[in-house]
Amino acid sequence: MNIACTLSNNRALVELSGRMDAVTAPAFEQHCDSLITQGTTAVIADMSGLEYISSAGLRSILSSAKKLRAAGGSLSFCGMTGMVDEVFRVSGFLKMFRVFATKDEALAE
């Protein structure tokens, strides 16, 4: 999994690509931890380059979301496709989080 992060207006756009599995998923939470340490707590995760996610990915996401909220921020998503969208839907994550169709819509908030 590759993580590319852009900061603007005290908000982070985190673009994830590749595979978020039990081996790679902790890197997302570590990235959010370091954003919180730097004082950025509003995070948009762009999932459009992500081709695979497992329960380990959901674990990393929920854990990060709890920490971001506790720090006064939020975690939202955009660009979900294929099996990533399917896994978000069946796990109830689609209704638990703010999910935008595209990066532009998420950034316009």
């Binding site: 599995d21 039990a22 081996v23 081709e51 695979y52 497992s54 329960s55 380990a56 959901l58 674990r59 929920l62 854990s63 979301a65 709890k66 909220r69 294929g82 099996m83 399917e86 896994v87 069946v90 796990s91 109830g92 638990m96 989080f97």
Partner: protein, 142 residues
């Protein structure tokens, strides 16, 4: 044709590659490959934790295409076997899907995802082995 691996995360990438290659050779549509790899990953993690709570142990991975009756839809069956203590993954509780971010517990979704993303799952204890089978309809495009 099966692959025998230690039930550890170190084996995951190799086992997923084996499964992808094998199922592509069997004509499995691309769309199902992600679900198939998820079944494998969640079981590797669970077998490693619950069937082999103390030591590392092996598991075997295989898949085949079968029809339950003439004219019935072709099903892809993934078969996972281990020789640990009896462990029925299907005995796990369903998570609370309506909880909000703050109250929802982290984790516990692996087996639930398998059940939701496959058409049917079966577990049986066969001698000294746990056998888990998950079935996916080949032409499923939902």
């Amino acid at each position: 044709m099966t692959l025998r691996i230690p039930a550890t995360l170190d084996s995951l990438a190799g086992a997923q590659a084996f499964l992808r290659e094998r199922s592509t050779a069997l004509g499995v549509p691309e769309l199902l490959l992600g679900r198939l790899e998820l079944v494998l990953e969640e079981l590797v993690v669970n077998i490693g934790s619950y069937a082999y709570p103390d030591d590392e142990g092996d598991m075997e991975v295989g898949c085949e295409v079968l029809r339950e009756a003439p004219g019935a839809p072709a099903m892809l069956c993934i078969i996972l076997r281990d020789w640990g203590v009896p462990f029925d993954p299907l005995g796990k509780e369903t998570p609370d899907l309506d909880a909000d971010i703050e109250s929802r517990p982290v984790g516990g979704l692996g087996i639930y995802l398998i059940r939701e993303l496959t058409d049917r799952c079966e577990y049986q204890r066969n001698g000294d082995a746990n056998e888990f089978r998950a079935y996916l309809r080949m032409e499923d495009t939902q």
